[in-house]
């Protein structure tokens, strides 16, 4: 429905974002998108492990993955690149990601007002029917205040 100008290609935007800053450090990649949703991938890395004995990924990178996927979903919902900031984000860790598996984060923006975007999402490590985490949260448009 929403038409993005060519320079606003979400896949390219995400690929660019993944080359910089915190996303580069943890290694988030583009995985897919559609109207109002975005998927990112977090390949397994030993540098992101919480406990070397178990090899389980720390929860922090999964939080970042979901923060990124849900914030990008807002631009895909509105079709405009409005500056925004996270107001709050809640994550429920259903179970740990299996060591070695890439984690896929699905973010969805399900409602926007003039000032606030409402998001939800989930993450899985291979089987979308068996999520490892769920998130819910809000963002505010910093230019609308």
């Amino acid at each position: 429905m929403n038409e993005f100008p060519p320079e606003f290609d979400p896949a390219r935007l995400i690929q660019t974002m993944s080359k910089n800053g915190h996303n580069k450090l943890i290694g988030t990649r583009y995985h897919g998108h559609g109207e109002g949703w975005c998927e990112l991938a977090l390949p397994y890395s030993e540098t992101l492990v919480t406990d070397t004995a178990t090899g389980i990924l720390a929860s922090g990178p999964i939080f970042t993955l979901m923060d990124m996927a849900t914030s990008l979903s807002i631009w895909l919902k509105t079709g405009t690149f409005q500056p925004q900031a996270t107001l709050d984000l809640r994550i429920d860790y259903l179970r740990p990601a299996r060591p070695g598996n890439t984690v896929i984060g699905h973010g969805e923006c399900y409602h926007v007002t003039k000032s606030i975007a409402f998001i939800r999402g989930h993450a899985h490590d291979g089987d979308p029917e068996k999520p490892i985490a769920h998130v819910a949260g809000t963002y505010f448009f910093t230019a609308s205040a």
């Binding site: 800053g21 915190h22 970042t64």
Partner: protein, 131 residues
């Protein structure tokens, strides 16, 4: 007690410090690796810092002889101010430490502890079933 940092904490560049009151404080120096939108720390990096200080504070409270697996149940992070290009500090308060569940609150700040940049409510499960 020295907290042994995880590979993730090392990747993030976290540093263990002590407040003047002796409380555990974890510092996250600013680097390109924690940057989100230009000029600001990424919200995910702040959440990771808040979680790390919460688990480390809990581990300290449990002591050397009690080492359950700390399993995160959920984290609710609230962002109050943009965290700019400087070191961010965090500390945690254990609101309740039960046999199976602990409730922890963590705050992060930069130049003034009375102006937090983010806070988190963190619930964890303590699993003593191993071993």
């Amino acid at each position: 007690m020295k907290t042994s940092f995880s590979p993730y904490a090392q990747t993030m560049g976290f540093e263990e410090q002590r407040g003047t009151d002796g409380r555990l404080v974890i510092a996250m120096p600013y680097s390109d690796g924690v940057r989100g939108r230009p000029g600001f720390v990424h919200g995910g990096a702040l959440a990771g810092l808040l979680e790390t200080v919460a688990y480390a504070t809990l581990s300290e409270a449990l002591g050397e002889d009690d080492r359950p697996l700390i399993k995160p149940v959920n984290v609710t992070a609230t962002y109050m101010r943009g965290a700019v290009e400087m070191t961010t500090y965090a500390r945690a308060t254990i609101e309740r430490l039960g046999k199976r569940i602990a409730n922890i609150e963590a705050i992060a700040w930069q130049d003034d502890i009375n102006k937090p940049v983010a806070m988190a409510q963190i619930n964890v499960m303590l699993d003593r079933s191993r071993g």
